[in-house]
């Protein structure tokens, strides 16, 4: 099944997704796949009720998403999939999500992370997951909003050590 966009973004559903990508891609549905949010009744309903400017919103756990993905639940929709981290995306891919490419839209700073771009910081675990995704022949592009430069993540991380977060230079 082809999704209009599969995006890693640690702000989950926010303005860049609903307004910028939403107006560019006109998705029918935004699917947030996040075990923490899906497992917390209050946060789940908060996100599920997001006004996504015309798109429906689904908040699902990894297991729920993979089950519906297998059933081709959204085959007649223009669905946009959102995950919080490279590790979460890898989990979906390992669980059967077949994609050719994905977008890295926002991995913001936290302690021990190294800056690749102003909106793209990684630690060792992120890098490991990113490399595992790339090794499956999936292309990753970094781009926060549409109509800006798409940056190839494979080139961006070429030459970085395994332990990038803790090198502390």
């Amino acid at each position: 099944m082809a999704y209009v966009l599969v995006r890693i973004d640690d702000r989950l559903i926010h303005g860049q997704v609903t307004v910028a990508w939403g107006s560019d891609l006109a998705p029918d549905r935004i699917i947030l796949v996040n075990d923490e949010v899906a497992g917390d009744e209050w946060r789940r309903s908060l996100y599920a009720e997001t006004d996504a400017l015309g798109a429906a919103v689904s908040v699902l756990s990894t297991v729920e998403f993979l089950e519906r993905n297998r059933e081709r639940r959204w085959k007649s929709e223009r669905a946009l999939v959102l995950v919080e981290s490279p590790r979460d995306l890898l989990r979906l891919i390992e669980g059967g999500l077949a994609i050719e490419s994905a977008n890295v839209g926002g991995l913001h700073y936290s302690e021990g992370k190294r800056e690749l771009l102003p909106y793209f910081f990684v630690d060792g675990d992120d890098l490991e997951a990113i490399r595992a995704i790339l090794s499956r022949g999936i292309r990753l592009e970094a781009r926060d909003v549409p109509h800006t430069q798409s940056i190839d993540v494979a080139s961006l991380i070429a030459g970085l050590g395994d332990d990038s977060g803790r090198e502390g230079q």
Partner: protein, 132 residues
């Protein structure tokens, strides 16, 4: 009908740093935008504020239709906008500026004529005001 539609620009006029800050937020969400000017009333008397708005409009009107957005009905920014558009019937103006209005403007401005766009901007701005 045959004439290509003009681009639509906006002049954002507000107290303090509000206009520039709102445009920073818009560009954080949508990426860099062209054909806009942010104006603050800080330190400007009414005449200078009028002049700053008129100058921005004149520059943008060389290539675009122009909508002026001000923050507060009854404030100096809004009065100045009213004075300027009183002498320039081509320009549209709205007040009550909020972030959703600006986002709607920049997302939709290439897709419809200026009066339709103005309607969408008003509607989105009103709809954004809610009790949580």
């Amino acid at each position: 009908m045959s004439e290509a539609r003009k681009k639509i620009a906006c002049v954002v006029v507000a107290h303090g740093n509000v206009a520039q800050c709102l445009m920073d937020a818009v560009q954080g969400i949508l990426g860099t935008q062209s054909n806009w000017v942010a104006i603050s009333n800080a330190g400007l008397g009414l005449n200078d504020l009028n002049a700053a708005i008129a100058e921005a409009i004149a520059e943008l009107q060389k290539t675009c239709d122009v909508i002026v957005m001000s923050d507060m009905p009854g404030g100096s920014c809004h009065h100045a906008c009213q004075e300027v558009i009183g002498q320039n019937s081509e320009v549209r103006a709205v007040s009550g500026l909020n972030l959703m209005m600006l986002l709607e403007f920049f997302v939709k401005r290439d897709r419809q004529p200026v009066d339709d766009l103005l309607g969408l901007v008003m509607e989105r701005g009103r709809d954004a005001i809610r009790i949580l």
